[in-house]
Every structure is written in C-alpha cells, then in structure tokens.
C-alpha cells in the first residue's frame, strides 16, 4: 500500500483568498493541495468588477477564469489541485485530517481555510417555496431571466446595490428594499441609484422596510409584502422576481468540531496574521471575521495566511 502523502498545506476553497494562498504556497515550494468546488467562489457571480487595481473593468467570471489559468502555471494535476467538496476537518495528533465528500482523506501539517460564505436567507414565508420560481440569490446568474419583469432587490449593501444597477437595465421596474434607515454600500453606487429614482426612471427604493412575505400562484412569485417600520403599515407590491442580497453566511460546518473561536456573526476569529486559536489552522477571506468582504481583501488575507503558514511550517522544522 502506498505511503500516505502528508501535505505541508491544504488550502480549502477556490475563491480569491484560496487562490492567492495557493499561489504563494506553490511559489514557496511547499507541498500544497488546493481543494474546492468551483473556481472563483463568490467572485464568479460578482458581476462587474471595477475596483481591482490594474484592470479598469472586468467581470467576476473573467477574473475567476484568469485565476484558474494563472494557477495552472504551477499546478497541472490532482496532486496539488482537486475539485471536491470538503466535508470535515479534524485534528489527529500533530496533523489535520481533511476529508472530502467521497471520504477521501488528505493529511496535512497546516490548513488554510477559505471557504467563504453562502447567501443569507430571509427566512420568511414564501422564500423556500418559491426558490428558483422567482426567488433567487444571484442576480448575475439569473437576472437576464427577468427581462421586462418587475423585480424586488432585498438588501442595502454593496451586493444589493450592484444587483439593482444590473437589473434596472434589464427589468421593467426595480424595487430596492432595505431594512435599515440608509443604504450601506459604496457612495458612488448609492448616489447613482438615488439619481435614477429621482429622475423617475424604473427604480423605487424603500428604506426602513422589512420584507415579511413572498406570495405567488403556487408556481411563480407574484408579489412581495413589505412592512414599513416607521408607520407599521404593510404594502403588497407586485413583482415576478425577488433577489435576496442580504450578505453571506460563513461556511463553517466542516470545521465545527475543531474548537475554533467563532464570533456572533458565525465568522471564524483570526488575528492580523490570519491565525486562529488552533495552531496550524489559518483562515482567509469572507469566512474570517474581517470587516470588509471585498475580493481584494480576500486575496490579501490569502497572502497573509500563506506567509503565516509558511512561517509556522518553518518553525515546525518542515
């Protein structure tokens, strides 16, 4: 029986944080395995990207493709990069045991965990019933299917604003609902949305509005019910599409038994070196407790995590 491979680093995820960590680790000649489901992670569906230095404008899809292309310069086979979903990570003595959905085990001296998050749900009546029947969590993926229709974007941050800008050029009308008193994204994006509304274009915004129900005809969405928090009045608004853009829920199920410190938002707590409370276990990107969920920040933390892991391995004598 062949001897079990022991990796220096297993990097979990395929988004910008994981990819950057892998680049640094490959270039450091560390025995590295990058493992995740699909290249780009949340970046893949980020739509237009205009805040990545050196590239005036690109899309999440293009950037993800470029990341994959770049990695292939260093890794061409499954000994260093594998497409699979990681199910659990446990500590076995001095090593981490990383197990995928097919029960394949990868043994490693250190782990960089960069799984990012999945869309948060509203958890209101109608949301689950009409998922993919008018309720979607990805404007970039599904937006074009709502051409000429009335849609609602639920959320007030950058993702919601981005979706609103995309949909105002596709849909008949766009309703943007935030539960907060103000939108909380990039000022340039907020101003553009408010301008479109004030000019009487196809945009309506509701602040202090709580989305309480999604209604339909048993097949597709027909309306959304908003409670105005100021007046307590409820308003039913006809829409055929509801885009839920209220942030990400960190994916931490695979590491729930490691004893990691997790904050109230469910994110893994890390210091500025991306170290967690478990020696040898590093985090990067949106799964960590960093404030700013941005592609460039995720990449930056991937770099920090890789360098910290490298230092950790050097101290181990590996």
């Amino acid at each position: 029986m062949p001897e079990k491979v022991i990796y220096d680093i297993v990097i979990v995820g395929l988004g910008p944080a994981a990819v950057t960590a892998a680049l640094y680790s490959y270039r450091n000649n560390l025995k590295t395995l990058l493992v995740g489901e699909s290249f780009g992670g949340a970046t893949l569906v980020s739509g237009e990207i205009e805040n990545w230095p050196g590239i005036i404008s690109t899309t999440g899809f293009e950037l993800s493709e470029k990341m994959e292309e770049q990695l292939k310069k260093y890794c061409m086979d499954e000994t260093c990069m594998k497409r699979s979903l990681i199910k659990s990570i446990v500590k076995n003595g001095e090593f981490f045991s990383v197990i995928d959905k097919d029960e394949t085990e990868y043994v490693s001296k250190s782990v960089i965990y960069a799984t990012g998050g999945e869309p948060r749900k509203l958890n209101i009546p109608g949301e689950q019933e009409y998922r993919n029947h008018g309720v979607t969590y990805c404007a970039t993926c599904d937006g074009p299917l709502y051409r000429g229709k009335d849609v609602a974007i639920i959320g007030g941050g950058n993702s919601a604003l981005k979706s609103a800008h995309m949909m105002k050029n596709i849909a008949k009308s766009v309703l943007v609902v935030t539960i907060n008193p103000e939108f909380m994204g990039e000022q340039i994006s907020i101003k553009q949305l408010e301008k479109a509304e004030s000019e009487g274009r196809n945009v309506r915004t509701i602040k202090n509005g709580k989305t309480i129900e999604i209604k339909g005809n048993d097949k597709f969405v027909e309306s959304v019910v908003i409670e105005h928090l100021d007046s307590k009045e409820k308003e039913e608004i006809k829409v055929q599409g509801v885009f839920v853009e209220i942030g990400l829920r960190p994916i931490t199920e695979p590491v729930k038994n490691l004893g990691l410190e997790i904050n109230a938002a469910g994110e893994i707590v890390a210091n500025r070196e991306m170290k967690t409370n478990i020696p040898g276990f590093f985090v990067a990107g949106d799964v960590s407790d960093l404030r700013d969920k941005q592609i460039i920040v995720a990449s930056g933390t991937g770099c920090i995590a890789a360098l910290s892991a490298s230092e950790y391995l050097a101290k181990l004598g590996g």
Binding site: E37, N132, H133, T136, P144, L145, R147, G241
Partner: protein, 66 residues
C-alpha cells in the same frame, strides 16, 4: 461545472445562453418549470429528461456514464 463535466466525459452538447437568448430563456422556464440555471435537457428519441442545477449523479445515470 456542467460544461466541464461534459468535456471531461466527452459528451457532445449544445449550449444556449439564457442571458442573451430570450427564446431559450422561455424554453427553459417552460420545460423546467423554474428559473434557476443551469438547466440541462437530455433528449433521447423524442423523450426529454430535465436536470436542474449541476447534478453529477443524475447526469451520470441518465447518460449511462457510470
């Protein structure tokens, strides 16, 4: 992922972009009864199987690739 799967398995396919092709978008909604992507339609002697999302197990089973 679906496209990569087909390429890896050497399965010939025709791609329709529902983002740019309104007729294809309506066809997808009518046939799958939902609005999520991707949708794979596998035709065999007039009989159609619809797979919503990337479902490797189902695709493998319908196409007899196991």
């Amino acid at each position: 992922m679906t496209k990569e799967f087909f390429m890896q398995k050497g399965v010939a396919y025709t791609e329709k972009s529902v983002a740019t092709d309104q007729i294809a978008a309506q066809e997808m909604i009518d046939k799958s009864g939902q609005m999520g992507v991707p949708v794979t339609i596998i035709s065999d002697e007039g009989k159609e199987e619809i797979v919503v999302g990337f479902d490797e197990e189902r695709l493998t089973s319908i196409l007899g690739l196991a």
